[in-house]
Symmetry: C2
Subunit: 117 residues, 2 copies
DNA sequence: TTCATATATCGTATATTAACGATATAGTAT
DNA sequence: ATACTATATCGTTAATATACGATATATGAA
């Protein structure tokens, strides 16, 4: 059942530039919160909050790995609107300047170097 | 060129329930501001503002007809992200309770009866 | 011209959102 | 158990968005 509520969850989640940037990072590779934080250059609490909003919308999912939490794009979302929008967003914005810079930073991001500092 | 800015214009425009309702109304038929206002049950200034936001995002377009302004879904949007999202939104939410009620009201709405009151 | 009307814009109050630092929680290691 | 660390949540402030009424603009009629 594709509800208005679920549709608005997706559009609200993707109506913020920071969250679109996170989505495009995660399209490239799975990342933990501290890696996302490092690429964004924002506070840990802020990064965690954005990830939660994307997860609640069914756009990304998290997998615990010990002390870390790996976030990745959702493949089997509970939100029926997520799939089509995920497909679309994956197909665009790769040439956006900020997205490209983020992609480079994400590529180099290493949780072992980033954490415990 | 599909920019981040244009993408965010579309997602922001569709991150508000009132504007999704307006979009689904216009999918059914062209409407003037006073007809949209009557279906929404909101102030004229509010209705006009929402229509402007949807138009700025390239999701709808307006055609002047004397004193009236007819709004309709955009077919040849300047915003390259609009087309795909328009197609998707047209294909969903027809069974939403509020959208259905709006559709009935829109069907009955008559600018000649609504205006000059 | 003047009057009437449909829409757009302005000004403002309220509500929502995003950011931060501080703290709490949960898992690892010793 | 204690100590350490990655993440989540809390509390607050600043920015943004939504709603309204009032006013301005633009078109049509007399």
């Amino acid at each position: 059942m594709k509800t208005m509520r679920d549709f608005l969850k997706v559009t609200k989640a993707l109506s913020d530039k920071t969250r679109v940037r996170i989505f495009k990072m995660l399209q490239q590779k799975k990342m933990c919160v501290c890696e996302v934080q490092a690429v964004l250059g924002m506070a840990q609490s802020t990064s965690s909050k954005h990830l939660k909003i994307l997860e609640d919308a069914g756009l990304i999912t998290s997998v615990k790995d010990g002390l870390w939490v790996n976030y990745q794009l959702e493949q089997h979302s509970h939100n029926p609107h997520a799939g089509p929008i995920i497909s679309y967003l994956c197909s665009v914005l790769d040439d956006d300047p900020e997205v490209k810079v983020d992609a480079k930073k994400a590529d180099r991001a290493n949780r072992l170097e980033l954490c415990s500092k």
